[in-house]
Symmetry: C2
């Protein structure tokens, strides 16, 4: 090795250590690195041949079978004008058209947070973690399973704000079923805006609620800023197979016309909503996602849009959804590649499980989802923590257990540090055979930040663990949640903006019925 | 796509479905696919530049710092004759010598089982799972933690025999501390030989016990067969850093001279036995493993040998070993590549944890080890199931929970099936937008074997799960262990061989003291 090579190598270093140091130093105040930056290549399990077959077949679906755009005549007009073949509500895309329309979508975009240090890059080699989305139930700090409330919603937003594992405040962290459906979105958006300064997601349950999201975001960020920047990302699920409905299309149009980001996401339990095969599920997912992205670009070329995929497999014996199995992992790795080839950001994965409690099953299944998520190169990760029971339950303990795992992910995808310090040849020379490295100067200089460490794992001896109460991880996590909520402090919000937001909500509430829950 | 292309593609299919069908059909009788065959490329996180640096530095350790071979003058003679520079017990290898000596080691070898259908290929794109090795304690079916006994040992051998997740019976599945150290190896080897027909590991705690292993294997397989074939693989741990002791070297020589396989394994808690960096740990591991492999080849060129690596990281705050963290995962991925470049089989990984019970922590940490193990391309996996508390405890419940996860691994590393059946275009055409796939002919034809399924995960509804007793996965696993042990049936063993083995053991026992436990 020449002197020059050594010198060049010396100047290189992995990003993991710095990110870790930054996270650790600021952990107590809830600061964290704003997103993960992957320094290694994404895992690729899809051969070139398989890739070509799947892309060809997806175009066949779009061309021959078609996609239904339901109860939205305007959507059909937009697609017809973009060159699609529309018959009734069935839309067929001549081979190549959908991919061509997708080409105006940005490969990566910034979603701004009200605290600029929290703004996230979505796309490329970046990964952003957001919490669980959608559960009507919670498992609370007493271990009880019950309907979620607005108080739970606020608690989850606070925890996500405080924990360095999360980059994004998410959206419907749980469904606050104690508020009327017509009104709850206003309090949910306000909770994200006021209790956190991380970026957030918007309402999609009606176009008017998407419009409320945009209006409230204009109050928080300023109308001029929102006109030019993306400040909200929202989840538009398909009714798989091959169907978009008017609610989702309506919300999508509101966001796309305001240059706000949407995720167009096939939602698939393979075997029920897609064929009972990995390649078939990939093909359908690609076709559906392309149709959604193409529609978004037809509405507003250049609007930020994320290729979404939620793919689980169904137990073909009981009909139950299953999680953490190898088939969805393969869909995930392969679908990430299909999205990269489409040159758009990708959303998938999370910490998914069908377990009822935060037991070993929950952790096995969650880890078998989150590792492919991170190693496969997902850009936006919904359900990164807290998901339980196939999405029916948001679990306080599991939110923290999963989030603890998320804090290791920057290290996992950082390049191995081969700087002179990383090589540690001085330590090896200083120590030598049969000695230990604890006292070496290299160890002393590096031990603080050398290794990731868990906040929740117990690595003490059996004797110490027993003396301290023999708490399993679930119990330790609940205790920590209680401590965090106790110590929560809201990020400062300009009182004038706060007042304006409350006034907007009050006015809107007056105009809405509250009969339905 | 041309007709020809389609036709060619039709003839291809993934190996996962067939392996799964085979495993499922034979599961009850304890039969399984004899090993995992990886169809996708191993995950590679080590850049070419980093690879060169680490290989260069490992040669620097071997050349400048050297490795201690302690209390074994014969080993020093062997190495001196092979070209090494020996001063006292310090052995230095001129740059390139160790790698050159390693070149005679086979890239892959067969370890024969007494049931030929259980024989395993170790190396290349194959992965073999063996259970936990070494714990003096067990956590039993009552959930109690206590010293392990010979009865526990037999139980673990039976469970490993019956479970399709394991390819190999392992070695010291727990330490039977109710038998004298001097004699227990005889009963341990006999348990593997008689209660299972999967391949097994041998004793390494003294050269005489390695010799007993070889003698008993000659009885089981026939002396002629053993002279020409590998029937036992044994674990030779280094005293890291950079030290081999006479006990391990003595056992190694016995096995190598009998053409039996050894794993030469640096055993490293990074920060204590190696530098507090990934690259430094890799460098030291490579140097130590190469010194062990080179010695094996100097003893008997061509003897089968496995590049071993056990690398965990130490908590730099408490001194406790930690598991499931990102640094050991990176060591594992990278070390697998270093072994491939040395063209020898690789052993590492497992389902490792520092947790005291089979809780969420245990499963998170185990999965963060076993996925890199499988995706990184490890060939021989010790501790693939049952390991608890940093290796102090063999846990009955976790043995089964981990093993259940192992049964998915063939699927995870199979190529995505893009045969015509895998593509499922007929199902997509038949079903179409808004319909479900449950009744399609493709689903009907494939549902039995389409998706991996867990034997232990509970995917029922909360209501059903509650009605059935709300058992967590730990409890479900214990119940299943009891059922399995109840239904165990030993594989048939030739009574003459059995008698000869018992006679050998009886004779040896007479000649050995039994004072020490």
């Amino acid at each position: 090795m020449s002197e020059t090579q050594t010198s060049e190598r010396k100047s290189r270093r992995g990003g993991g250590r710095d990110a870790r140091r930054q996270m650790r130093a600021a952990g107590a105040a809830g600061l964290s690195a704003p997103f993960i930056t992957r320094e290694i290549a994404p895992v690729d399990i899809l051969s070139e041949e398989a890739t070509e077959i799947i892309e060809y077949n997806a175009e066949t679906i779009l061309e021959e079978i078609g996609i239904d755009f339901r109860d939205d005549p305007e959507a059909l007009d937009i697609l017809r004008n973009a060159g699609a073949d529309v018959k009734g509500e069935r839309v067929r895309f001549p081979r190549g058209l959908a991919r061509q329309l997708c080409a105006t979508a940005p490969a990566s975009f910034t979603q701004h947070a009200r605290n600029p240090e929290r703004s996230v890059e979505i796309g490329g080699n970046k990964t952003v973690f957001a919490p669980v989305y959608g559960p009507p139930f919670v498992r609370d700090l007493a271990g009880e399973r019950r309907y979620a409330t607005m108080e739970d919603f606020r608690n989850f937003v606070k925890l996500v704000y405080m924990h360095p594992g999360f980059h994004h405040s998410g959206g419907t962290v749980c469904e606050p079923v104690d508020l009327p459906i017509t009104k709850r979105h206003l309090e949910m958006i306000y909770a994200h805006q006021s209790l956190s300064d991380k970026p957030y997601m918007g309402s999609v349950t009606a176009p008017s609620r998407a419009a409320d999201t945009v209006e409230m975001s204009k109050i928080l960020f300023g109308a001029d800023f929102v006109a030019k920047n993306t400040v909200v990302t929202s989840l538009i699920n398909a009714n798989s197979p091959m169907t978009w409905d008017d609610t989702m299309l309506g919300a999508l149009k509101v966001y796309a016309r305001n240059n706000q980001a949407v995720i167009t996401a096939p939602f698939i339990l393979a075997g029920a909503m897609s064929p009972v095969s990995v390649a078939g599920t990939l093909t359908q997912t690609l076709a559906e996602a392309m149709s959604g992205i193409a529609f978004t670009q037809a509405v507003n070329p250049g609007a930020p849009v994320i290729f979404g995929s939620f793919a689980s497999s169904m137990s073909m014996q009981t009909g139950a959804p299953t999680f953490g199995t190898p088939e969805p992992a393969k869909v995930l790795y392969a679908c990430a590649k299909l999205a990269r080839r489409l040159n758009v950001p990708f959303r998938s994965g999370g910490s998914l499980t069908g377990s009822k409690t935060a037991d070993a099953q929950a952790a096995y299944e969650s880890t078998h989802t989150i590792i492919p998520t991170v190693m496969g190169g997902v850009n936006f990760v919904l359900h990164a923590a807290g998901w339980m029971e196939g999405g029916l339950v948001a679990d306080y303990a599991k939110l923290l257990l999963d989030a603890d795992q998320l804090t290791m992910m920057q290290d996992l995808v950082s390049a191995i540090d081969v700087s002179e310090n990383g090589q540690a040849m001085d330590a090896l020379r200083e120590t030598g055979p049969g000695q230990h490295f604890l006292g070496s100067s290299h160890t002393q200089a590096n031990f603080e930040t050398a290794f990731w460490r868990s906040e929740l794992a117990d690595n003490t001896t059996f004797e110490q663990w027993s003396a301290e109460g023999a708490a399993e991880s679930n119990e330790r996590a609940r205790k920590r949640v209680a401590e965090m909520l106790e110590s929560y402090q809201a990020p400062v919000l300009d009182p004038a903006k706060d007042e304006e937001l409350r006034a907007y909500i009050a006015t809107r509430m007056e105009g809405l019925p509250d009969s339905d829950f």
